[in-house]
Amino acid sequence: MFQDLFTYNTKEPWFFTEYSFLLVFGIFLLLYALVVNNKQWKKIYIILFSLFFYYKSSGPFIGLFALMILSDYIFAHFIYKKEGRAKKLLLFLSLLYSLSFLLYFKYSNFFISNFNSILGTEFELNNLFLPIGISFYTFQSISYLMDVYRKEIPPAKNFTDYVFYMTFFPHLVAGPIVRAKDFLPQIEKPQIIRLSLYKESLLRIIVGLLKKLFIADYLGKYVEIIHQGPDGFTGGENLLSMYAYSFQIYFDFSGYSDIAIGIALLLGYRLKENFDNPYGARNITSFWRKWHISLSLWLRDYIYIPLGGNRKGVFNTYLFLFITMLVGGLWHGADWRFVFWGMAHGIALILHKGWTHFFPKQSEKWYYKILGIIITFHFVGILWIFFRATSFESAFLSINQIFTATSWIDFQGFWMTRPEVMYLLAFSSIIVFTSQKWKQKIIDKIYLIPTFFWIILIAIALQIILQFKDDVVEPFIYFQF
C-alpha cells in the first residue's frame, strides 16, 4: 500500500475525492503546522507537496510542466525589461512556446483528422495522452506573460514565488484559473488562519465532496445510460437526462472548485469564486458572469478586449464576442461539438446584447424573472447535450427524442422505475434554484457547531459518501479540458 502511495498509477491518478489523497493531505497539514509561521519553509513545503500531487495525477508530464514554468519565468523577466519591437517579439515567442504544448497534446489530432477528411490524405493520428490540467496552467501562464507585458504586474520577485504560484496544488489541475496579479501578492501576505477561516474551509471541502460524490456521480450514471443510445429511450427519459447532466456538470465542477477553494483557505490563500448560482441567471449574459467565472474573465481580458472589445463599433463588438466564445468552446475540447457549443453561446450572447440595446430596461416583476430563469436554464441545458453526447448525431437524436417523443406517461413510468433519480433531480433543483441568501442562513447555523464537533462532522460526511457512492469514482469532468 505504502509503495503505491509514492508511485504514479495511470489507472488511479490522484483526485481530491480519493480518500488516500485526503489522508495524505491530513498528514501534510499536521506537518504544515510546524512551518506555517516561517515564510520560506512554508513555500518550499507547499511547492514540494504540489509537485508530488501533480506527479501522482500526471506522472512523467511533470517534466513538461517544469519546462514551461522555467521558460515563462525567464521570458517574463526579459519582456519586462525590454521595450518596443523586441518586447513584442519576446511576447510572441513566449506565447507561442507556452501554447505549443497545448496545441500539440490537445489539438494536433483534431487538425490531422480534419486535414485528412478535407484533403483525403491519410496522415496517422498521434497516440497522445492529454496531460491533466494543461489547459488550465497554459492559460495561467499566458495571463502572467500578458500582465507582465502590459506592466500590470512586475515579474515574480524570485523563482520560488513563481513556482509557488504555478504549482499551487489546489488550483493546479482543474482551476480556478488564478491570475498572477491576484495570487502573487498573497504569497507575501497570506491570510491568517483563524477559527472562522478554519470552519469555512472545512465546510467548503465537505460540501464539495458531497456535491461531487453524492450528487454528480450518481446522476452521471443515469446520463451515461441515456447517451449510450439516446434514440432507444423515450423523449421523457432524454429530457430528464438533459436536466440530470445540467446538474451533474454543475455539481461536478463547482464541487471541485469548492474543494480547491477550501484546501487553499486552510493553507491561508484565497482563490476567487468560480460559480455564483449560475442556474439562477435570468439571461445568457448573466449566466456567463456566474458560470466558470475565472474562464469567462480570462476570455474577456485576454481575447475579447485585445481584439477590440466594444470600442470598434456594434458589428465588431458582436464579431469579437462570437470569436471569444468560439475560442471558449474550443478550449473545452478538440471536437466540432465544442466549437458548435461555443458558437451557439456566442450567438445567444449577441442576440441578448441586441435585445438589451432595444429594451434596455429589465422588468423586475417576479414572473418575468422566473420566465427568464426557465428560458436560460433550458437553453443552456440543451446545449449541454452537445457537450455530453458522444457525437453530433447522438446529440441531435437526443434532442429529436425530446421534441418528438415526450409524453406525460413517460414520467409516470420513470417515476415507478427510477424514483431515486427523480428524488435526486428534485433535490438538485432545490439547491441550484435556492437563493444564496437562504443558503447563507443555513451556513451560518452550521458555523455555530463547536470546533470539536467538526471532526465528527467530517467523519459522518466521509461515511455517508461511502454509503452512497459507487465503487467507481468518475474523474472530474473538467479534468479532460
Partner: protein, 316 residues
Amino acid sequence: MILLWSMEKENNTVSGEKNENSNSKGLIFWAGLSFVIPLTLIYFYSYSQHKISISGIELKKIFLEEKQEKRAILSASTQQSEEQSSLLHSSKLDTIFDPSPEQGERNLNDIEYTKTWNFGSNLDTTAQRILLMGDSECGGLCYQLNDYCQQNGHKLVLSFVWNSASIYNFAYSDTVNKIIEEFKPTYVFLVVGLNELYSKDIANRTSAAKLMAEKLSGIPYTWVGPANFMKDYGINNAFKLSAQEGTFYPTLNLTIPKGGDKRHPSQEGYKIWMDSLAVWVETKAKYKIKLAPPVKRNRHYRSRLINLNAAEYRGY
C-alpha cells in the same frame, strides 16, 4: 482538549500583536487531525474483518473487498477464457452439430459455448412442461421457443413477460411462486437482467439473485443472461455466481442484431439467440433437455402469455 482550549483562546482573544499576525498552529494541527483521525478509522475498519451496523444499516468499507473480489473474478474469467480459447481451437470440429433430416439447421454462433462445463451427457429427451419467464426480452424469445417446443414435443405452458422488471421483482414477490404452483412446469427458462445492466449495487442484486435461485431449486432450469448491447457493470457475473453451476447461459458472448428500438434484439436477433441457447441447453447445461432446431419457423403461437409492466405492477 487542552489543545482545543488553547486554540479557542488563541482565536477568540485579541490580546497581542503576536496573536493578530501569526497563524494558529493549533488550529492547523487540528484541521490535519480532522482528516487523519476519521480516515485512519475508515481505513482501519475497511481492512478489518469486522462489520459494524447502525440501526440495521451496515457501514460500508472503502471497497477494498469488492476490488479484491473483482480482481479475483477478472483473473478467474481471464484464465477461463484462455482455457476456453485453447480448447475451442482444438475442438471446433466436435462441436458442429450434425442435423438430422427431420431437424432444421443449427446456427454456427454456438461454437463458442463448447467445453465450458462438462456435466456428462445425460440429455433428458422426455417432453417437458416449459415455463418461460423474464423481462421484455422474454416477449421476443417466446415465439422462437414456441417453435422449438412444437418441434420437440414440449409444451410451453406459459410465457410470463414482465416488462421493465429487474431481479428484485422476480425475487422479492410471490408472483413467481404462484405461477409455478399453478402451471407446474418441469423446466423453467428465466430471462432477466436487461433493465439492470448499469446497476452497480451488485451486492444487493446478488442477494436477490440467490433468493431467486433458491425459489427455482427443485425444478430444472436455465437462467438466461440479458442480451448485452452495451457493457454491464457486473450483473452477469452476479447472476452467474448466484445460479447453480451450469445453469447460467451468458448471452453477452453472442453478437445479436439490434431491433428498431436499439434496446432489444431484432426478430433475426431473437432467432440467433434461441438457436444458440438451444445448443447450449442440449450440450452444456446442467439440466439438458431435447431442443433440436425446428424445421418450420414462425409457427402459430398457441400457449398462454401473461404480459405485465413493472411500472404498473411491481409484484411486491
